[in-house]
């Protein structure tokens, strides 16, 4: 016991209060997918909060408005996402308190989040999230991503987690400048459907959010239509009786 404690005190890695560090995530959200369209940004995420392999929570809102000009979507540890929302709440509050006609746009919020994530990573105590930050300010559309280790970049379409593998290829093929709202939603739903079929932590209850110069709208939760009537799924045990 004593030698264990002695070893902990001499640890060079992390702070002494080891129990305060994030070692692994517990309740996690899966992919977020977002793209730029004609009037702004469209972002989609399902409402699942997985507890390991159990789909435990089914009404988790993973898309939130930030100030007047930005929209934040997060995958990863839900409690860390809530902590980030508290940081941003304070940031926007102080920004509003200046009351001087200047306000933080998506670029500023994205940069701030990058610094927060990177600084936590440097302390070996990361916020276990992949964040998608989108917004419109003064006609300029902005869409960026920050990872849990502070890697950040901007692009015309982004996705987190499984979305990177399953959705980005679709977006690379089918995204173009000045997508209409309907086409954007159709493209996002196509991506979310693939994720629903193939990502075991996805659930069929999602929200799509849009942000334009006018503001943020987050849709109420809805489900995608799925098709399971493939002939290969009929009589699956025909070649191997007793299996499933």
């Amino acid at each position: 016991m004593d030698s264990n404690q002695a070893a902990k005190q001499h640890s060079l890695v992390g702070s002494e209060a080891d129990s305060q560090r994030t070692l692994y995530p517990y309740v996690t959200g899966t992919s977020v997918v977002a793209l730029k369209y004609k009037d702004g940004i469209l972002m989609a995420a399902d409402m699942g909060g997985s507890y390991g392999s159990t789909l435990r929570y089914k009404s988790v809102e993973r898309l939130k408005a930030v100030g007047k000009h930005s929209l934040l979507g997060a995958s990863g540890e839900i409690s860390d996402f809530q902590e980030i929302l508290r940081y941003l709440d304070e940031l926007i509050l102080y920004d509003n308190m200046w009351d001087d006609g200047n306000s933080f746009g998506p670029k500023e919020v994205h940069s701030y989040l990058t610094r927060v994530m990177y600084n936590r990573r440097n302390k070996f105590d990361p916020l276990w999230n992949s964040l998608v930050l989108g917004g419109v300010k003064n006609g300029q559309k902005y869409l960026g991503m920050v990872s849990m280790i502070g890697v950040n970049f901007e692009d015309n379409h982004v996705a987190t987690g499984f979305g990177n593998h399953l959705a980005r290829p679709l977006l690379r093929d089918e995204w173009h400048e000045n997508l209409s709202f309907e086409d954007g939603v159709k493209l996002l739903e196509k991506c979310m459907r693939v994720l629903l079929y193939r990502d075991r932590s996805a659930i069929n209850k999602l929200q799509i959010a849009k942000i334009t110069e006018e503001g943020v709208t987050i849709s109420p939760p809805y489900a995608l239509k799925t098709f399971w009537g493939f002939s290969a799924f009929e009589n699956p045990t025909v070649g191997a009786e007793g299996s499933w």
Binding site: W98, D100, G101, N102, F104, G105, K107, E108, H110, S111, Y112, R115
Partner: protein, 284 residues
């Protein structure tokens, strides 16, 4: 201003509700060499007179770049001005690093004013003895602010501080309504004329003044001596050619300035601006 028993400490009020140490600090600003600022909708020009202590020495730096979009001209204790400029640069660069966007000048000015206020409410400190003309750009366009040792700040279309700044202010008061839509050239011309007003008849040349500009799409930069001299030549030539008809202001001002300034100087030396005595400057 006369000495009295309430002026030893910055933390002592006078019975009339004045803080004399703060007012004395503002006197220090009035003794420094002149600094002038003016703005249009899209540009801010800062100009100052460079007076060297002796012919052997160089003049002190009075205009500082704070960021690409913010510059400051100081009058008073230049050492205090340098320290505050360093603070402003630090705030700007920290904001740029965290938010990847320029610090709005209106917010910087408030932080500066709060810093100055602290020194008016601590018994172990003294107020900063420097006035700052802060010019900068933000989302709503070009701005010019004056930061006072008292911790007050004001926004201006045009302003002048330092010794003989009243002559410049008189000129600016006549013309300021046109500044909003002024072109780059006109704005600088007005700045140079205002600077000339503070020189009390001495010939305006680029070796004794500094001019700096910033604007939308034009980062802050100090104009080099050659450019300033060319601009001076451009407008002084206009005065000589067109004579009293076109620039009656300038010609009359030059003559009137000598007489007016002599009287002003006499007044200054004796009583330190008699009209100010009854009014506590901080109440502006």
């Amino acid at each position: 201003m006369f000495r009295n028993q309430y002026d030893t400490d910055v933390t002592t009020w006078s019975p009339a509700g004045r803080l004399f140490q703060v007012e004395y600090a503002m006197e220090a600003v009035k003794q420094g060499s002149a600094a002038i600022g003016l703005r249009s909708k899209t540009h801010v020009v800062l100009a100052c007179v460079n007076k060297a202590n002796s012919e052997l020495s160089s003049h002190q730096k009075k205009i500082f770049k704070v960021d690409d979009h913010i510059g400051v001209a100081i009058a008073g204790l230049t050492a205090d001005g340098r320290v505050l400029s360093r603070y402003m640069r630090s705030e700007c660069i920290n904001h740029s690093f965290t938010y990847e966007s320029p610090l709005p000048v209106g917010r910087l000015v408030v932080q500066l004013a709060d810093k100055a206020q602290v020194c008016t409410q601590r018994s172990w400190k003294r107020p900063f003895g420097v006035g700052l003309l802060v010019g900068g750009l933000d989302e709503s366009g070009a701005h010019l602010y004056y930061n006072c040792p008292s911790g007050n700040y004001f926004e201006y279309q045009a302003f002048a501080i330092g010794s003989r700044s009243q002559a410049a202010k008189t000129y600016l008061e006549r013309r300021f309504e046109n500044f909003v839509d002024s072109s780059w050239d006109d704005l600088i011309k007005d700045a140079l004329i205002a600077t000339r007003e503070t020189l009390q008849g001495e010939k305006l040349r680029s070796s004794i003044c500094t001019v700096a500009v910033m604007g939308v799409g034009e980062p802050f930069h100090i104009l080099d001596q050659e450019t300033v001299q060319q601009l001076i030549d451009k407008f002084e030539l206009v005065v000589e050619d067109e004579g009293p008809a076109a620039e009656p202001d300038a010609a009359a001002a030059e003559e009137g300035a000598e007489e007016g300034d002599a009287a002003e100087q006499g007044g200054d030396a004796d009583q330190g601006a008699a009209p100010d005595q009854g009014v506590a400057p901080m109440e502006i």
